[in-house]
């Protein structure tokens, strides 16, 4: 990275989508400043950099903001293109990667939000089954590959890996076991956590669970 490049990440420590950006920056070896945001009292900087959604994560590169986690990850891949490519070079494979990252957003991210903001007794009868079925679909897509990206970490891995530290929380709320119900995905998470770019970007699952409980109490669902 050139000496005059300024990279700042507006984020919150527990955010699964913020972690996507952290993994991508770590894979590319990009040095950046992490500015923790208080989402209950939003900073002037956040409101200025993301006036449309007022949400994190926001990447600020040489003063210009980029918003939406997967848009940011693609931006990082395109700007720092000489190291650790996240999207494959073949257009069909790229389309498959984009499809599955979008699937993670539509199914896992959205399910996760619903699980987090719903009382245990109000969770849909099918919530647990639907969530596990979604994870099994991801297992099917992973197949025998070490990563969704093949031999190396790719775009879909970056989209999904943050959930490795959030699964413990979902297990507790929905009362299931990742190891029992999705052993392949469980093994995948353990394997990926051995990579420094992943382990230093994710948080301790127990700390996430404490955070989740406090948030659920604040939202009146715990």
């Amino acid at each position: 990275m050139a000496a005059d490049e300024q990279v700042t990440l507006l984020d919150t420590w527990a955010s699964s989508i913020g972690m996507r950006v952290r993994i991508a920056l770590a894979e590319k070896g990009v040095k950046y400043e992490f500015i923790e945001q208080d989402l209950w009292s939003k900073s002037g900087l956040l409101l200025q950099m993301n006036p449309v959604h007022k949400k994190i994560p926001v990447l600020v590169h040489n003063g210009k903001p980029v918003c939406e986690s997967l848009v940011i990850v693609q931006y990082i891949d395109e700007v720092w293109k000489d190291k650790a490519p996240l999207l494959p070079s073949d257009p069909y494979q790229r389309a498959q990667s984009r499809f599955w990252a979008d699937f993670v957003d539509k199914k896992i991210y959205e399910h996760g939000r619903t699980i987090m903001t719903t009382k245990v007794e109000d969770q849909e009868a099918t919530a647990k089954k639907d969530f596990i079925d979604t994870l099994k679909l991801m297992e099917g897509e992973l197949g025998d590959k070490p990563y969704f990206g093949g031999e190396t970490l790719g775009y879909v891995d970056v989209a999904l890996l943050p959930y490795c530290c959030w699964f413990y929380t979902y297990e507790k709320i929905l009362n299931f076991s990742l190891e029992a119900d999705c052993p392949k995905l469980n093994a995948y998470c353990k394997r990926c956590l051995q990579k420094e770019s992943v382990s230093k970007s994710l948080e301790d699952p127990k700390k996430i669970y404490d955070f989740a409980l406090k948030l659920r109490k604040k939202l009146g669902v715990e």
Binding site: V66, Q74, V79, R94, A95, F99, D102
Partner: protein, 229 residues
Amino acid sequence: MAKSDVKLIGAWASPFVMRPRIALNIKSVEYEFLEEILGSKSQLLLESNPVHKKIPVLIHGGKPICESLVIVEYIDEVWSPGPAILPSDPHDRALARFWAAYLDEKWFPAMRNIVTAKDEEARKALMDQVGEGLVLLEGAFSKCSKGKGFFGGDQIGYLDIAFGSFLGWLRALEKMNGVKLMDETKTPGLLKWADSFSSHPAVKDVFPETEKLVEFAKVLAKFKATLPK
């Protein structure tokens, strides 16, 4: 490439299907259009998109690609050289993708829900939301177009396609509700852009007529009423 190598499964009234059709037209790619019938899903659709079972699906050399904007990026990457659909600068690309995500996740759902709004108050709230979104998009247009006629500059690009594909339904909604959501005072740039977009050679043959969409909306409402709750 032979026409039979490129197939698109879709339906004439779907804004999402319109997106890859415009992209293929920009690249002058011939394709076979396989129209799905409302109320039933073809075996080919179910096999090509087992995850979502939705249109559009592009089938290129026998391989399926799903999700309208994923298909548009694929078309841009495969058929190059050819007029570029995504901008070349990474920050401009990020901006185009950001606004496309806004349209799909926030703006269009509000517009779509106007039809099924439970009462007048809910309908008005949604229309206000759509109107406020258009003011935001007017700002985006100023920024992205850099004084030219399209979001993509001199030529139509990714964001023109992502947003323009909703114009037919926007006009139909304005007609059905007797309102003007895009107007000269609040969104003058977008009003002019909408005309240029809908009459563009790559767009005009796949742009649905307002009257036809108004009629189709009635058919759609009747069909939805027959579905189990």
